[in-house]
């Protein structure tokens, strides 16, 4: 959930550029790169990255402006790999793994694992329907109002 009180139009413009850059190239953009693309001072973009993090519109690594999550995408490698449109992505969690085909509006194959036994599990989305993996369960440990207390654990 994003806190809508903390972002303005410029922040949203920067956020949208971050997402389009990542989805276009597969590489996590930096404040310097986005600043160059938008013709803005890096310091201003740096501050926008931090505001977007505070507003839960993206997730940075602690104490830096390095991107960790562009939900539902993960910048870091995770056990949840999504193949869609001839490309491969990492998702932050089981929910996000199914969020990537939704965000891309694409068919996808998802390779993940059972949290208990670490055996591989596979899901497939085709034409907007879950056609493989329907027998799996999804478990959420953390109550919704505490999801952002520690988004990495959630």
């Amino acid at each position: 959930m994003t806190d809508t009180r903390q972002v303005d139009e410029l922040d949203l413009r920067i956020r949208n550029r971050i997402y389009s850059s990542f989805v276009g190239s597969g590489d996590a953009p930096t404040p310097g790169g986005i600043a160059a693309e938008l013709g803005m001072p890096e310091q201003e973009v740096d501050a926008a990255f931090r505001r977007l993090h505070d507003a839960h519109a993206l997730v940075l690594w602690p104490g830096s402006t390095e991107l960790r999550m562009l939900n539902p995408f993960s910048i870091a490698e995770t056990p949840h790999r999504v193949r869609a449109g001839g490309r491969s992505w990492f998702a932050n969690c089981a929910w996000d793994a199914l969020g990537i085909p939704a965000a891309l509006d694409a068919d996808a194959q998802i390779a993940s694992e059972c949290a208990d036994c670490a055996e591989p599990v596979e899901l497939e989305v085709r034409d907007g329907r879950l056609v493989r993996g329907a027998e799996l369960l999804w478990h959420v440990l953390v109550p919704a109002r505490r999801w952002w207390d520690d988004i990495g654990f959630t």
């Binding site: 809508t4 539902p72 993996g133």
Partner: protein, 76 residues
């Protein structure tokens, strides 16, 4: 937020971690939630949802009750 292969493995996983159970759905229900939650994320006109809008998605899928409340209840 994890996948599990069965109820038995869910119980074993919870016991191994010493965790209290949270909430469980089917992957089918998760897929529908993911579709509604994330489908606008890359659209050019994306704007953040309000808490009420996000809550409505959960409510509409039957994900109700205290566990699924995104914000704390108002003080009484």
């Amino acid at each position: 937020m994890v996948f599990l292969r069965s109820e038995e493995r869910l119980e074993r996983w919870l016991a191994a971690g010493g965790w209290q159970p949270g909430a469980t759905t089917t992957a089918v229900q998760l897929h529908e939630l993911a579709r509604r939650w994330w489908s606008s994320r890359l659209q050019p006109g994306w704007r953040p949802r309000t808490a009420a809008e996000s809550q409505a998605i959960l409510d509409d899928l039957g994900l109700t009750g205290d566990f699924w409340q995104l914000t704390s209840p108002l003080p009484r």
